[in-house]
């Protein structure tokens, strides 16, 4: 049995009503716990792309994949976990910020390549995009100032380079575990 790790799946689905509900229902029904799920349009009309992050060992990952493929509206599933890929979240963080703290906070933003996008006499709102650990790092540094509010998206991810998705099933199901 291989180890349970955090996995990222890119799931291409038909853009039809209720598809998100079907996918979410599958994860709930099979006790696959979702850490984050993001859905959005792609450049192809009628095709949406989900990024699903969840904990799973190798066997479970293959079963998640196979179960996703069983859904009529699912076109392609790509397990990005061990592929060269880029993954990003976006977070907005509203922090207490007295006038004398502004310089320090803006310097922190520089270090994290975050931006202040709104400011009032006593607070500042910061936007950051990046991998989850970078966002977590910024949050931990900002916490002592007093975080008033925070919101973040789920992860979105894609492989580096060009991945050919012809949006048709692979001929051979990925039923074979490599971690025998």
């Amino acid at each position: 049995m291989s180890q349970s790790v955090q996995r990222t799946f890119a799931v291409f689905v038909e853009d039809k009503p209720g598809v998100l509900n079907r996918v979410a229902s599958l994860f709930r029904r099979r006790s696959f716990n979702i850490d984050s799920l993001n859905v959005g349009a792609t450049h192809e009309p009628g095709v949406s792309r989900m990024t699903i992050v969840c904990e799973a060992d190798e066997d479970k990952a293959r079963r998640i994949e196979a179960n996703l493929y069983k859904m009529v509206n699912v076109l392609w599933v790509d397990d990005l976990t061990y592929k060269q890929s880029i993954s990003r979240v976006l977070a907005l963080i509203k922090v207490n910020c007295e006038r004398i703290q502004r310089d320090e906070i803006l310097k922190i933003c520089d270090v994290f390549r975050a931006r202040a996008i709104d400011m009032s006499p006593e607070r500042v709102t910061i936007e950051i995009t990046g991998p989850q650990d970078k966002v977590d790092g910024l949050v931990s540094v900002l916490r002592p100032f007093g975080i008033l509010e925070m919101v973040q998206t789920g992860t979105v991810a894609m492989t580096r380079g060009v991945e050919e998705h012809d949006l048709a099933h692979p001929t051979v199901p990925a039923s074979r575990s490599t971690a025998a």
């Binding site: 509900n21 079963r63 196979a66 493929y69 076109l75 199901p173 575990s177 025998a180």
Partner: protein
């Protein structure tokens, strides 16, 4: 299959109501019988039905309709169809849909829905039935426009019957039934970009399987439901005649391999034969064909077949490594895979292994009770065995869920495929009577025997009225022990004998039958069994036999839930207990 039905006028290109298009589409899909119950939101469809050559069976409850469609599908191999209204009509179908889902049965359920502009307003009899049934259907649809009706029903049938079959629900709003559009029907191949039911096995996996089979010293083959679903019984027989590998069946696999074949072992699992479970535990290779290693089959997974390599031949990739880790997965149609393997495997005798199985078989038990003394008591095993003898194993048997279901599986030898219909995966009490009615419509020439307990029978007993109205003949054998027997058995074994909520007071079933204008017979002694069976077979119209059997008999052997497969509870066979347990098992009868 399009204009094959000469009774169907060609109305392609005409403007038709959505309601008419429902029937145009169903008839074009080959539907001759459907099971249903009308109501507000489906009334336009019912009104249009009279123009079409479809026989509608009015059930007494929508659950009966979905079970009948299921029974029809199981017996015929075709898609079964049920129809109901919105709200409670639709939710009442759900138990039958879930039953079909877990046993991979192709049914299409048509439900009415409130008019599309009212959806989401908690309108009268509104239920989000597509939302409700996502987890228990293979796929489902909400149709809100008449133009969508025909293509959706076509897709629904295609999805239901292809690949690993399953139930598909089509929810059609009332306005989509009432509005009209130009009727169009395409016979082109259906292309769904996200749906690929036809997996082909990998050459490399087939080679690995052949190597394992050639080198195995103690192989065993599991025949599951998939053998019959793929029409692979002939291929399996050929494979076994060549390889001489012993075959164990799952509950739903019974009949997929002839029970009287010398290599047939019988049923495996919780109430499987002792020697079968023992052989599994001692095997060095399992070839699992069209089955899914259900927990009722494996027992404790940690100690399951510890020395066996496992080849899993299965159409659904999501079943691979789900419960049991396998060495060689072969994803594909069971028949096709067996046919591909056949030329590559050698004839092989493995005499030691077969002799060993014969030895453990002789040492434990043989289920032949015909020579046992009649001590004046009636046991369920007697009833089933006598029924088997009288029908020569050729009846179409439909069982409910519980003790009688296991006794049937143990004492009725199934030599023929698709002659045992039972709710295996979901274990739905109340399944047998409606499923048996559905089966009778699929196989009117067959002698249909519905075997059920006194508990399960009462869950859907109202469908007797459907038998009477339709004038069909089925035979109902109620194994009446005055208890919810299987639960009582668990209470006896595992809950200190506290019989909580299991004693069951039933009405007089003979009078119930007579109240429906049907025939009722009561049997209390073994000597009366055969005469009653004969009378039932000879009587016109549905017959209900109330078999008053021993109240506290149990199903043996038994692997407690989650226990090791080889740790089975055996029927007590202490000296002096024979009188108490007259169906003691002995190897001497064979």
């Amino acid at each position: 299959m399009t204009p094959a039905n000469p009774k169907l006028k060609n109305r392609i290109g005409e403007s038709l109501s959505g309601a008419s298009i429902i029937w145009e589409s169903l008839v074009r899909e080959g539907v001759e019988v459907c099971f249903g119950y009308p109501g507000g939101a489906i009334m336009p469809a019912y009104d249009a039905m009279i123009q079409y050559p479809v026989h509608h069976v009015l059930t007494r409850h929508e659950q009966g309709a979905s079970h009948m469609a299921d029974g029809y599908a199981r017996a015929s191999g075709q898609v079964g169809v049920c129809i109901a209204t919105s709200g409670p009509g639709a939710t009442n179908l759900v138990t039958g849909i879930a039953t079909a889902m877990l046993d991979s049965i192709p049914i299409v359920c048509i439900t009415g829905q409130v008019p599309s502009q009212l959806i989401g307003s908690d309108a009268f009899q509104e239920t989000d039935i597509t939302g409700c049934t996502i987890p228990v259907t293979k796929h489902n649809y909400l149709v809100t426009q008449p133009e969508q009706v025909a293509p959706t029903i076509r897709e629904a049938f295609y999805i239901a019957r292809s690949g690993r079959p399953g139930p598909v629900l089509v929810d059609i709003t009332k306005d989509a039934q009432q509005q009209s559009c130009v009727f169009e029907w395409s016979d082109d191949e259906i292309v769904l970009p996200g749906y690929r039911p036809d997996y082909a096995p990998l050459a490399e996996q087939l080679e690995e399987a052949v190597e394992l089979i050639q080198n195995a010293k103690r192989p065993i083959l599991f025949a599951g439901h998939g053998v019959m679903k793929s029409q692979g019984t002939g291929a399996l027989l050929e494979f076994i005649n060549k390889t001489n590998i012993p075959v164990a069946c799952t509950l739903l696999g019974l009949g997929g391999f002839p029970a009287s074949h010398p290599r047939s072992l019988g049923m495996m699992g919780m109430h499987g034969e002792t020697w079968v479970n023992k052989a599994i535990q001692d095997s060095d290779l399992i070839i699992a064909v069209g089955m899914r290693f259900d927990d009722r089959v494996t027992g404790n997974l940690k100690t399951y077949a510890p020395n066996a390599k496992k080849i899993h031949i299965e159409l659904d990739p999501a079943e691979i490594n789900k419960n049991v880790r396998v060495d060689v997965p072969i994803v594909g149609d069971a028949r096709a895979v067996l046919q591909e393997l056949l030329p590559h495997v050698d004839k092989c005798d493995r005499e030691d292994w077969l002799a060993y199985i014969d030895e453990i078989k002789g040492g434990s038990s043989v289920r032949d009770i015909k020579n046992l003394p009649d001590l004046g008591k009636l046991y369920a095993a007697h009833v089933i065995h006598d029924l088997y003898r009288h029908t020569e194993g050729k009846a179409l048997i439909v069982t409910d869920v519980g003790q009688h279901q296991m006794w049937e599986a143990q004492y009725y030898k199934h030599d023929y495929p698709m002659k045992l219909l039972t709710s295996g995966g979901l274990g739905t009490m109340g399944f047998a009577l409606p499923a048996g009615i559905g089966a009778k419509f699929a196989k009117p020439e067959d002698s249909v025997w519905i075997i059920c307990g006194d508990g399960g029978f009462q869950m859907t007993q109202a469908e007797l009225s459907t038998c009477a109205q339709e004038g069909i003949k089925v035979n109902v054998a109620i194994i009446n022990n005055g208890f919810l027997g299987m639960v009582r058995q668990w209470q006896e074994f595992f809950f200190g004998g506290r019989y909580v909520a299991t004693p069951l007071l039933s009405p007089d079933f003979v009078k119930i039958a007579e109240a429906h204008g049907l025939t009722g017979i009561r049997v209390e002694k073994r000597s009366e069994v055969e005469a009653a069976v004969r009378k039932a077979e000879e009587t016109e119209g549905t017959v209900v036999i109330d078999f008053r059997v021993e109240q506290e008999d149990s199903v043996y052997p038994m692997v407690p839930a989650g226990a090791n497969l080889h740790d089975m509870i055996q029927r007590p066979d202490q000296p002096g207990e024979h009188e108490h347990n007259p169906i003691f098992e002995t190897g001497e009868d064979d």
